[in-house]
Amino acid sequence: MTDRQANERLLRDLMDVFWNEHRLERSGDFFANDAVLHSGTQDYAGRVGLGDDFAAPFFAAFPDLHHAIVYLLIDGDWAAMRYHGTGTLAHDYGGVEATGQKLDHHGTAIFQLAHGRIAEVWGHSDLADWMAAQPQAA
């Protein structure tokens, strides 16, 4: 496998395994120990930050959360994607009251890769627009 193929495999598995099968315990296969996610204006550092603080509450709120890669770019040790996410809000999340709303959002992420894992991620999406359009929890 070339480096390019290995990096593409890593990111497709990140989506299929980590995000779509919600396999938080596999985070070490994808993220460096000191990985940092910059999500909008929020930073999440390390596997605890990425898993417990970012991904776990998102999965809990949308138990059927599913993401599909629309575009995947590989450029040496850099990568980027545009993705489409769907799910059903089953539990209150980020101030939004859960009434079974259907999530439909898009986002973009840029990844810095090192030694076959993700070292740093920058992401922006329209999730906040979707959240703002939902009824707020009292």
Partner: protein, 139 residues
């Protein structure tokens, strides 16, 4: 120039020439005729909509608007960027009354290229957070 070089040139010119030098007259050098910009959940299709409805009001509000490319990823006829934008709010915009507020925000774009020019952009940023915390709303 290779196709990749032409694509990189178009993406860099989007920030350096179109945005920073405010050379909207160079539109055809950078954009394909059929270009569509998806900015968050709003779409701008074609030169007229992009220059008149998107770029000019943004530049009028922030006359010193500057965008710095912090990341550039290139792969075939697609590209991705992360950028930082700064400027000074000199004209009421987006529901805010201008009082010289200093803008600083980050965003990202995914770009599709065709023949060395930009054919489609999907872009997201945290500028909405800045607007939400930087001033009174115009009545």
């Amino acid at each position: 120039m290779t196709n990749q070089d032409r694509n990189e040139r178009a993406v860099r010119d989007l920030y350096d020439v179109i945005w920073n030098d405010q050379r909207l007259d160079r539109f055809d050098d950078v954009f394909d005729d059929s270009v569509v910009i998806h900015a968050g959940v709003t779409d701008f299709a074609g030169q007229q909509a992009i220059t008149e409805d998107f770029a000019k009001p943004f530049l009028a509000a922030f006359p010193d608007l500057h965008h710095e490319l912090t990341h550039l990823v290139l792969d075939g006829d697609t590209a991705a960027t992360r950028f930082r934008g700064t400027g000074t709010l000199k004209g009421d915009y987006g529901g805010l009354i201008a009082s010289g507020q200093k803008l600083s925000y980050h965003g990202m774009a995914l770009l599709r290229l065709k023949g060395g020019r930009i054919a489609e952009i999907w872009t997201y940023s945290d500028i909405g957070d800045w607007f939400a915390t930087h001033g009174q709303e115009a009545s």
